[in-house]
Point group: C2
Chain length 142, copies 2
DNA sequence: TAAATTTGGGACTTAATTGTCTTAATTTTT
DNA sequence: AAAAATTAAGACAATTAAGTCCCAAATTTA
């Protein structure tokens, strides 16, 4: 459904949403330890997100990654789109090039609505999911 | 969602469901050409399915792969389970080891019901999907 | 200004998936 | 019985995804 990379990225972004702000930046290493991930690999992912302005960063001591208030209003799915691209969630489940309602694959009508709902659920802003973690309704690790 | 391998396998099985029976076996090469797939690779997939008795095969001239009437009543998801295993469709979307309703990940309640529905849709028998192709309601290629 | 710390970028390595090839076993036809 | 056709099995190759490493650039602190 999602690649390992974008799973990591979503976790890391939600961690930042919960724990960081422009006054409180967090180093890649700290995030990696918190969500139990190889730190150099996570760094690459965070850099990709930073390059695309999903998250912010600053260098040097006291530097790190963080989310601005406005970044909290980004749909979570954008994280996935940047790391995985969109085709993974949009292409035909059976891999047919021209699957559509005009020329559906055999599972199209069973599955296509579910895929669409899935994307719609991830359209919710980062803040919505982060709130659940803050409330103790949801967890980021273990 | 599904690996390329299991997409191929599902396509091939549905092709067999539509075109084969115990009197009319189909060679791997013919299936590969029909659904536009590398034939040696498809052979491996068909062999895996045959070993697990999802499809039938016989060797020699006039040999090939086929589906018995009773095999048509197999849930389509079994094809996926054999090629991909079950974890791909069951594990937490964010990759958390212990994600559950007691300890949900932030997207659990948004996404878990959709995954369950997805599996349920694929529980339909092979014959159900094959009928759609026979009726011209669905297509297996291009 | 120099040292320390952190992100940025790219080359490199490793692992998993996808795809190919060769040979053996089985069955049919002649 | 021999030849031809097909699946079965497993080793091998290529591609993609995952993960590591090194050095440069920027920033802070002393």
């Amino acid at each position: 459904m999602l690649s390992s990379s974008s799973k990591y990225a979503v976790n890391a972004v939600l961690y930042l949403a919960v724990h960081s702000n422009d006054k409180n930046k967090i180093r890649a290493k700290e995030i990696a330890e918190a969500i139990k991930l190889p730190s150099p690999f996570l760094s690459k992912l965070l850099q990709s997100l930073s390059r695309e302005n999903i998250i912010s960063s600053s260098k040097g001591p006291t530097g790190g990654f963080y989310l601005t208030k406005q970044a909290l209003n980004t749909p979570l799915i954008e994280v996935v789109n940047i790391i995985d691209g969109t085709s993974r969630l949009e292409d035909c489940v059976l891999g047919l090039k021209k699957c559509s309602s005009e020329q559906p694959c055999p599972v199209h009508y069973s599955v296509q609505p579910l895929k669409q709902k899935f994307r719609k659920e991830l359209q919710e802003n980062i803040s919505v999911f982060a709130e659940k973690v803050k409330n103790g309704e949801a967890y980021l690790f273990v």
